[in-house]
Structures are given as structure tokens and as C-alpha cells.
């Protein structure tokens, strides 16, 4: 397949850019420093881990429990954290493993082969939306519709969207967290985007945008 580069632009989060690299040197030092390092390196990602946990559990109570369990495991195994490595991805991995142990059936992955990506990509997507409709969509606040559409994605796709699109992990780190090949991250992401497009078109139809467009075109 001609699709080649398994890497994606990496846009470091502002907090990532501000990480003091010296902090990684004190991870395994004396207890007070160990606690400070855990605070500075691990707890700083609490909002991101909470968001990821919400994505996994789709339930606020379970998400809070999962976040607690994640940090408890991280604290117990803090000495195994490799200084200089990506703490956020490490925490996501812990969270995902904890969730899979707790709800293995809910954490099933959706197999999507690269061949499927090609077939989907070559398929003539029934856009059915005029430029006018696209303009209306782009003018609207799509956040609620997109949020709902992401929540409705199958688990394997939602995880990828959460990690790559929302948490902005590079493909390689997302692949590590999800324990799948980089190419699979990529194919699931593209498939998920297609599904989001379909959801958004349904949203546009429900909102009357698709039905209203031809009438306006006729009038003009």
C-alpha cells in the first residue's frame, strides 16, 4: 500500500513543553524527592488521565475509580518508571491495563486491517453535502455533536481518537499504549474519522441542514 509514513506531526502539549528535564533525574532519589518527582511528573497529568479514563469507562463514577487505581499503581511502581520517558503514555498504559482487567469485555479491541483502510479510502464517500451545507456546519458549534459522535465510536476507534486526536500522542506512543502496530493506529484513526463524518452528516440531517440546502439553491 502506498500509504507510508507511520509518523504524525507531534504537537507537544504546553505542559509537556514546560517540563523541566532535570525532574526526570530525581525519580529514584530520596523519599521526599521521590514524592516531589511523583507530584511533578505523574500528578501533573491528572486532567489528561481523567479524560482518558472517562473515554475508557464512559461513566463518571467508574472513571474516578479508574483514575485512583491508576495513580495508586503508578505510585507503587514509581521506581520502575524510566526517567526521561513519556510519563503520560506510561500512565495511560496503566489506566488501560487496569480497565481491561476490570472490564475485559468492554475493552475488546476492534480489528481493522490496513486493507480495510484502503477499501474505505477508495470508496466514494457519499458526501451528499453541498458547499452551502459545509459552510453552515462550519459556522455551527459542532462540539456537542462531535463529542457525542466520539462517545458513540466502537472502543478500539474511540481509544485511538482520544489518544491521537485529543491527547495528541504521536502514533508510535499511542501504539505503545494500545499494544497495537503503528499502522493499525493509523488505519483506525482514519476509519474513525470516516465514522465521525457520517455521524456529523446524520446530525446535519437531523438539524435540517441537508434538507434545507436544495430549497435554498432553487431559490437562488
Amino acid at each position: 500500500m502506498a500509504l507510508a509514513r507511520p509518523t504524525r506531526r507531534h504537537r507537544p502539549a504546553p505542559s509537556e513543553r514546560s517540563l523541566n528535564p532535570v525532574l526526570s533525574c530525581i525519580v529514584t532519589s530520596s523519599p521526599p524527592d521521590r514524592q516531589q518527582a511523583f507530584h511533578d511528573i505523574a500528578l501533573r497529568w491528572l486532567p489528561d488521565v481523567t479524560r482518558f479514563a472517562r473515554s475508557l469507562t464512559r461513566d463518571e463514577t467508574n472513571a474516578e475509580d479508574l483514575v485512583q487505581e491508576t495513580y495508586l499503581r503508578a505510585w507503587r511502581h514509581w521506581d520502575s518508571f524510566k526517567p526521561g520517558s513519556e510519563a503520560r503514555a506510561w500512565l495511560f498504559t496503566i489506566a488501560r491495563n487496569a480497565w481491561r482487567k476490570r472490564a475485559p469485555r468492554d475493552a475488546r479491541l476492534v480489528p481493522v486491517e490496513d486493507a480495510t483502510l484502503q477499501a474505505l479510502a477508495e470508496q466514494d464517500f457519499p458526501l451528499g453535502a453541498s458547499n452551502d451545507v459545509l459552510q453552515r456546519l462550519s459556522d455551527a458549534d459542532l462540539r456537542p455533536a462531535i463529542r457525542k459522535a466520539i462517545a458513540g465510536l466502537p472502543d478500539g476507534f474511540r481509544e485511538v481518537v482520544e489518544l491521537v486526536e485529543l491527547q495528541e500522542l504521536p502514533y508510535a506512543e499511542a501504539a505503545e499504549v494500545l499494544e497495537i502496530p503503528v499502522g493499525t493506529v493509523r488505519s483506525r484513526l482514519f476509519r474513525a474519522r470516516r465514522l465521525l463524518q457520517q455521524s456529523l452528516l446524520e446530525h446535519a440531517r437531523d438539524a435540517g441542514l441537508l434538507a434545507a440546502a436544495p430549497e435554498e439553491e432553487t431559490r437562488s
Partner: protein
């Protein structure tokens, strides 16, 4: 004899629609190399069929990007985490 310069000589060859659509997400992510990126750009800007696909793709990416900003976790989450950690000996901030 001097032939007039072909103004399109340095342009990449025009892609077919199937190839352009297959590369569309990589194009929108700016993950293609320079030649491929330009080839897809040329195609989608000139092709009436592919242009709305590119526009709609970009619309999805923009909409998702608006959700990126992490919301602060509720105080109950932080309190719960710190309570569990302190029970395990963590005494940090």
C-alpha cells in the same frame, strides 16, 4: 530553436481521484512528503469531486481540535487520588 518553457514542467503529475482521496487524511495531517503534499493539494483544489471531501475532512479535524483543551478534573478526582496515595505513604503536595 528555443522552445517556450512549459509552465507546468515542475508541477507534479495530476493525481486521479482515488489516489487523492486515499491520501486525503495524510494530506490534511500534513504527513506527506513535499511532492505528494503538493500533488494532493493541486488535485483537491482543482477537482470538483474531491474538493468538498477535503473541506469536509478539514471540518472534522477542526471540530475535533476544538475538543482538545483538557478540562480540569473535578476536585473530587484529585481529592480521591490523593487520599488513596496518602494511605500508601505518599506525603507530597
Amino acid at each position: 530553436m528555443n522552445m517556450p518553457a512549459d509552465p507546468t514542467a515542475h508541477e507534479p503529475p495530476m493525481l486521479d481521484c482515488a489516489t487523492a482521496v486515499r491520501k486525503l487524511w495524510d494530506y490534511l495531517d500534513r504527513n506527506l512528503d513535499g511532492v505528494d503534499q503538493e500533488a494532493v493539494r493541486l488535485h483537491v483544489t482543482k477537482c470538483a469531486h474531491c474538493f468538498p471531501h477535503a473541506e469536509f475532512g478539514q471540518l472534522i479535524l477542526d471540530a475535533v481540535a476544538e475538543l482538545r483543551r483538557a478540562e480540569p478534573e473535578p476536585a473530587s478526582v484529585r481529592d480521591g487520588v490523593l487520599a488513596r496515595l496518602r494511605a500508601e505513604g505518599y506525603d507530597g503536595p
